[in-house]
């Protein structure tokens, strides 16, 4: 399994992971398609994302067959990024909290959708035609 001989593995494992990645992607698309919301949506999307990322790195990028010296070099430094993400989310929640509290914004405002905009236009056109 030494890397100097190259990463040579049976083809079967690549086909299996390939199919698995398709299935996991379909699952995460299904989460959106069936409009699952709230904590369930976050949990499922992040679970499928981490599984996909794990399989790509471990199998397709051959990390599971590398020596520990290289594995730690690859996976070690990105761990500090978790700290950055943690800090920025704490800071983000604090900032938005103060903005809602002191700047009079509505925390429950709802965004417009393309159908609000385009649907509105169509409705107006029809109305104009009727008037003529």
């Amino acid at each position: 399994m030494s890397s100097e001989a190259g990463q040579q593995h049976p083809l079967g494992i690549y086909y299996k992971i390939w199919v698995l990645l398709f299935v996991l992607s379909s699952f995460s698309y299904a989460v959106d398609f069936f409009n699952i919301q709230g904590g369930m949506r976050w949990g499922l999307v992040i679970l499928f994302m981490l599984l996909k990322a794990g399989f790509i790195v471990a199998i397709f990028m051959h990390v599971m067959w590398e020596r520990l010296a290289l594995i730690f070099t690859i996976l070690g430094p990105p761990i500090v990024l978790l700290l950055l993400i943690g800090f920025m989310s704490v800071e983000g929640f604090y900032t938005s909290g103060t903005r809602y509290q002191y700047m009079g914004h509505d925390p429950n405002a709802v965004a417009l959708t393309p159908s609000d905009l385009h649907g509105g236009e169509h409705a107006e056109e029809e109305h104009v035609e009727e008037a003529h």
Binding site: S2, Q7, Y14, S28, L81, M88
Partner: protein, 226 residues
């Protein structure tokens, strides 16, 4: 431990091997230098993309305007009712398919099968190019039909546009560079440039390509689904 370090069976595996690799006064990584350098580059690229995504996290948390509904904005209609996120789903499947063909190219490279390696790399590049094409379609739809700009959009938080164009643009640039890289290596494989040197270069190009797919996994989840 030290006498076992370089036996005929190769370097010691596991934790003992880790200690050996780092403590002996010699090469640490038992991989070709190009592969070690590609990994260093990919780790630094991980930092860039994570900084972008963390920036996105921060502006999305702090904006006081509602975040535009991605599922409906990226819906596409084929004659009937719009199907939510369908183009993005197709792009995701295309990129996964290209990762599969790339994995096969690496495998056939080490088997010294020049013809199959060449064609699987060309197929990978073709999938990559079609991904970029779909992204161009998506961008022009968003810019021309929906009026999304980096500084504003008709749906909600103006940060949506800046985050979208920056993150997907940077990823698209990686895919485009990858297509050129893969084609370059593929044609050199066909010419037989690596017969003596060995086919590690195919694996190194593959690492880059799988990384591009990996980044898309995170963009797909955080930008489009959540």
């Amino acid at each position: 431990m030290s006498e076992a370090a370089v036996s005929e069976a190769g370097p010691t595996p596991g934790v003992d091997g880790l200690v050996d690799d780092w403590s002996a006064d010699k090469q640490t990584y038992h991989v070709p230098w190009g592969k070690a350098m590609m990994w260093i580059f990919l780790v630094s690229d991980t930092f860039i993309f994570t900084c972008f995504l963390t920036g996105y996290l921060n502006v999305r948390l702090t904006t006081t305007q509602p975040w535009p509904p991605q599922s409906e904005i990226f819906a596409l209609s084929f004659g009937g009712d719009p199907i939510p996120l369908i183009l993005i789903a197709i792009m995701t499947f295309i990129l996964i398919t290209s990762s599969g063909t790339m994995a096969l190219a690496v495998n056939f490279g080490y088997r010294r099968d020049k013809v199959k390696t060449f064609w699987f790399m060309v197929a990978t590049a073709a999938f990559g190019a079609s991904f970029v094409g779909m992204q161009a379609f998506e961008w022009s739809k968003l810019i021309l039909e929906e009026g999304v700009r980096p500084w504003g959009n008709p749906f909600g938080a103006p940060q949506f546009g800046s985050v979208f164009f920056m993150i997907t643009g940077f990823h698209g640039l990686h895919v485009s560079a990858g297509v050129i890289y893969l084609l370059t290596v593929a044609f050199k494989v066909r010419k037989g440039h690596y017969e003596k040197k060995g086919y590690e270069i195919v694996e190194i190009a593959g690492l880059y390509w799988h990384f591009v797919d990996l980044v898309w996994v995170f963009i797909f989840a955080f930008f489009y689904l959540l």
